[in-house]
Each structure stands twice: as C-alpha cells, then as structure tokens.
Amino acid sequence: MKKLNRRQVVQGFSASALSPWLAGNSYAQSSDIVIGAAQPITGVFAFAGVAMNNGLNDFVQWKNSKGGVQGRKLRYVVEDSGFKVDQGVAVFKKIMASDKPNFFYCDGTPLVKAITRDAIASNHVMTSSTSLASVVADPVNVPQHFVPGATYGRLHEVLMEHIKSTWKGADKPRIAYVYAESEFGMDGIPAGKARAEKLGLPIVVEIVTKQSGIDVTTEVAKLRRARPNIVIFQGYISAPMPEFIRQMKEAGIDPDVYGTAWGLDKPAFDALAKLGESLTGVSLYATGDDTSAPMIKEIREYLSKNRPDLTHISPFYISTWFTGMVFAEIADRCLKARKPLDLPNMKAALESIQNWDTGGIIGLPVDYSKHEVLAGRLIKYNMDKKFMEPAGPWIKV
C-alpha cells in the first residue's frame, strides 16, 4: 500500500516536471504591438506585483477599446517572476522567444541589469520597470530602458526643495534620514543629502536599518537622541515606521514624517494614521483620488466597469498604467513616422518626447530626453477623507 502511494506520488511529480515542454506557447500575430512583462506576482513584492500586473493589463484593454495604436492592437503577455532574477530571466527569454515583444516590463533593477545585454542585442525591444534606481536611468549604458517617473534621487531633491520652501520655524529644521539597507532605501540618499547641503538644511542623523527591520529599538533610541523635527523614511512599505513613530511619541517628540514614492501607499498611511500621524511625501504621479486629472478619471471609469471591487488605486497600479502610456506613445510616434519598431527608432521616439501631456498623471509637461521624468509632487494624508491628497504644486528639478 505504502509502496503504491510512493510510486504514485513520485511519478506524479515526474510528470509535472515535464509540463513546461507540453505547455503551448501563446499565438503570435505580427500585427499586434506586444508588451511582455515579468511581474512579481508572488514573493516579497507580491503586494505590488498584483497591482502592477493589473495596471498594465488594464491599460492595454483600455487602449484597445479606444482603437489601439495607429489601428494596431496592443497585446499583453505576462508571467510571474517571483521577484527572483533567474526566474525573471527565464520569463524574459521565454517571452522574447515566443512573442517577440516590442516592449518589456521588468520587476526591478536586478532583472533590468540582467536582461539589458540581450535586450540590446535583440534590437527589437524597449524596456521599463518598477525600479526608480539612478543606475537604470542611463541613456548610454542602458539605452533601451526608461524610468516610469522620477528616480529616487530626483524625488529626494524635490523633497528638500519643499522642506526649504515650507519650513516656518525660526531656526533651521533638524532633519533625520531613516532608510533601509537596500537599493530602495539607499539609492536616493546621496542626491538628497547633496541638495540639503546646497540649501543649507542640516541632516542631524542618518539611521540605516535592515529591510525587514524586526527589532529597531536601538535605532529608534538613536533617532530620539538626535531630537529631529523632520524624519524622512526611505525604502519601507510600512514596518518598521509605526514602531519608530510610537516610540518617538512615547519619548514626547513629534516630528513631521516624510516618505517618497512607494512608501506613500495605503499600508504606510493607514498604519501611521492609526497612530494619529499623517504621512507627507513626494509622489511620482497624481494620486488615485485626484479628481483634477482627466486620465485618473478614465482609470476610475474603467475600474468601475471592470474591477468594481477595487476601491483603492495604488501608485503601483498608476505606475504601470503610465508605463503603458509611454510604451503606446513610443509606438505611436514610430508608426506615425512610418518607421519600423526597432531599438534605434524607439529610443529616438522616446527621447523626442517633450512637453507631452499625460492627462494629469504627471502634472507638468513631460520631457523624456533623459529617460526619466524630472518632476514630483508633494502629497499629504487627509485624516477625515482617508486618502492622500495634493499638498503642493508639482516641482521640477
């Protein structure tokens, strides 16, 4: 009996091991404009990956419902990368082989770095990704890539500008940097510090924690001793921010709390709101609740039809929707000029984008000559309305 079970079990698994060869490739139609993606639908970034996947997918549907690009349909081919480089690379190669995509969306800096060589060599694909790292906003070494918004450095420069312009206190603000020991945490800091110095804003303490800061007691004690009146968090989704706030409150100090980009999503502002702290920070895009932006309206309409259960529009969703817009714009410009969609043409098309109207997703006319957007906007959590709302004008750097 037991033997039988074992046989069945082991054979069962051996069979499933074969299935990648059996699993058929999806049909390829030459007329389609193909957007491939390796999304972190599982793993440590699942919470973002699902939203990002929906965002890009929904944009494609929406665009096609509006007639596609120059009469050609967009097609979205996605697979899960689990936020693992090797899995991501496998996905990239697979999609490159089966669907010959014109655009490819990566799950982060490591994957972008890992596929850049092949992407350039293939000469038929433009890439973008979640990553806001400065290393991938590099027209020379990463020519096929663009950042869907501002890089961390830019965001922190915007933040410092904002602090400079809004600080009311008699003496200078005491700024504390708290960031995770990870790309998301560390990438923007040097630029931010440089700008702070230029503006004469003192950084009184810098605290590095582990990405998943389980125990941060000592770090908080350190922060407390510096008595900051502004604390800038970078690289956290939520934890360990709440514990920082709690302990500072216990210590009777109540600084303004700033964050950037992904750190301004629901998990963060909800957790802090519970502690009576309203999060402020620099956002890449208009928030999902921004009524002034026409494109956000479009998104809301689309969602009310297709995802009625989805109430909160995360920046991740908007980010991939926006990325889709850029992809479409590039394709559109190439096709208008009767140029084939190869890398040089698409790169040229990207860099030709100037004072482009993004329907308010980015409030200023967008200039993509540097493969990134040099603007950001301050947003603040509204305690009674329970969402992030504009807290200042769009700032260009």
Partner: protein
C-alpha cells in the same frame, strides 16, 4: 534484452562505463545535449543553462554533504564568492578561462577556512557554523562596495575567447555544459578512488575510519574544499550567464535549494545531483507555467496559486525524505533493472 556482462580482468570492471551499453547511452546522451541549441527554443536554452549551473553547484554540495556527510549551509554564499571573483577579475580584463579556475580555487580556499570547525564539531553544530559563515559572507557582499558593488550589485563583462565574445546563451550553454560534464566526470572519478571511499567512511563512522588510517583533518577539509571549488565555478559561470548580479541572489534560500536538490536527487550520487538539479528547477517552473495556463481561464488565479510554489517545494523535500530516502536515483535504478531484463521479466 541485455545478457550479463563478464570481465576478463579487474581493469575492465573498474572502468567508468564498464559495459558497451552504458558507453552507448552515455554517448547518445552527450550528443543529444550538445545539439540542444539547434533544436531547443531560446527559452529551453536559457532553462538548460540555468539547470547546468545548478548541476555544477549541486555536484559540489553532494560531495561535501552527500559523500562526506558534512552539512553545509554556506554553499549558496560560496557561489557568491565565485561570482564576485569573476566579476572583479573580469573587469580587470582577465579572460574567463583564467577567472573561472581562479574563482574555483579561491572559493576552495575559503571553503577550507569555513570547514575548519568541522574538525571540532559535527552534524547540526557544523551546519550552524556554516550558517554563521553564510551571514558573514553575505554581509561582505553587501558592504564591500568597491569590489562587490554593494546592495546595487555588480556587472560581469562578457566572457572573451581570444577576441570572440561569448554573447548569446548558445555560447554560454557550451561553456556551462563543458564544465558540467568535466566536473561531473571528475566527481564520479573521485567517488571510485581511495579519497571517495574515505569520504563515505568519514560520513558513516569517522572514528573507525581514523583508526583504519584515514586522516580526518585532511579528508574533511578536502571535502569542503572540493565542494566549494564546484560552487566557485558554478558562481563564475552564473556571473557570465546573467552578466549582472545582486547580493540578494546568494540568500540562504539558495543553499537550501541545493540541499533540497541533493536530497531529492540522492545523497552521494553524481546522477542524483543531476536529477536533483533538474527536478528542483523544473517543478517550480512547471508550477508557474501551469498557473499561467490556468490564468487564461480564470484571471487572478496566479496570485492565489503561485505562493503554493513554496508549499510544493517543502512537500517535495518531505515526501522524498519520508518515502524515497535514496532520491530519484533509486527510481532510476528501478527503471533500469526493469529494462535490463525486458521483455523476458517484467
């Protein structure tokens, strides 16, 4: 049907593939493998490369843990050492046929240092000593920015063979499998010499082995060194394959992945290492593809189905431990025995 094989002298019996049939299949397999780039899709090719790298690494761990019974949780970090060595030397313009051996040797030396506690402690204590080594190494990967590029990671220049750049996966494929085959045979060789026997003896009863004339110090450190050498080489080719790497890649989970591969494949068997690496690479991939396919019919299935990957990974380990302690090689032998006498006995 195959009749029995008879030997006139020990020499013919001691050969690696000691029957014409074995030699034939070996040859056939290698031919099929070497032509893969011409019949496989780009995806299959990439997967094959990844498997090849895993095979090399698993072979190494199987020597240390499978043959000599020394549990190592720093194998993944060893790959990192190899990878960063290649990256560093590669940037200095050193060709790959130098960097890869150097990576191997350097990692082997490190392996000796990490293996030192094995003289004083065994089993789980040793496992945790190697765990310590893992944490220290990954700290170095993250902090020693000038060499490793820190948390941002680093890039590895393309392998260059006398002016010819190994660019596509085709080239990398041949590089990887050249090494995989060489190292596979080497591991097999080691197994049938006095050193291989000493490894097993140390695993089974190290005190008796010592009394029978086996130098424990030398043998244990040698086991660590060879294992680490394989890891270093695997890390090297890994670097050339991906062209860019971040420290997170060499997480503890990587070491565990290889331990799992060793267990699923079969402790102390070269064939086991190959099976293990193949299986542990393809099962999650298969799962991914399945859930992808399923998501055509019900969207958002992915988000629910895919975390099960971890569950399946865990289940695999346990199922094999409980039901098939000798790993896939045992199944393989069963199949072989069956065909050996087929069709006369079934």
């Amino acid at each position: 049907m195959r009749t029995g094989v008879f030997y006139e002298n020990f020499q013919s019996e001691e050969q690696l593939w000691n029957s014409p049939v074995k030699r034939f299949w070996m040859l056939a397999f290698i031919c099929a493998l070497l032509t893969l780039p011409f019949w496989g899709t780009q995806y299959i090719l990439a997967m094959a490369c990844i498997v090849g790298i895993h095979v090399i690494a698993t072979l190494g761990l199987n020597l240390t843990t499978g043959n000599a019974g020394l549990i190592s949780l720093s194998h993944g970090a060893f790959l990192g050492v190899g990878c960063y060595t290649v990256a560093y030397l590669g940037k200095l313009g050193v060709p790959f046929y130098v960097t890869i051996p150097v990576a191997g040797i350097f990692t082997a030396m490190l392996g000796v240092i990490v293996g030192l506690p094995s003289l004083k402690v065994k089993g789980i204590y040793l496992a945790i000593a190697t765990l310590a080594a893992h944490f220290i190494l990954s700290f170095v990967f993250r902090e020693w920015t000038p060499v490793t590029g820190g948390v941002q990671g680093t890039t590895i220049p393309r392998a260059n063979f006398f002016g010819y750049e190994l660019m596509g996966d085709k080239d990398n494929f041949y590089l990887i499998y050249f090494l995989a085959i060489i190292l596979g045979i080497a591991a097999r060789n080691l197994g049938r010499t006095y050193i291989g026997r000493a490894f097993v003896a140390v695993r089974d009863r190290d005190i008796s082995a010592e009394i029978l004339g086996v130098n424990l110090l030398k043998t244990k450190l040698l086991a660590f060194a060879t294992g680490a050498f394989y890891a270093g080489v695997a890390g090297g080719v890994l670097g050339y394959f991906y062209g860019a790497i971040v420290p997170d890649y060499f997480a503890l989970t990587l070491s565990i992945f290889y331990l799992a591969a060793v267990i699923v494949g079969g402790l102390g068997s070269v064939l086991g290492s190959i099976f293990g690496a193949l299986f542990m690479t393809f099962v999650p991939e298969a799962l991914r593809l399945l859930s992808n396919a399923s998501s055509h019919w019900f969207p958002n299935a992915a988000g629910l189905v895919l975390p099960m990957g971890q569950v399946v990974f865990g289940l695999l380990i346990i199922i094999f431990l409980v039901f098939e302690p000798h790993g896939l090689t045992a199944n393989w032998r069963r199949v072989k025995r069956y065909f050996h006498l087929w069709p006369f006995k079934t």
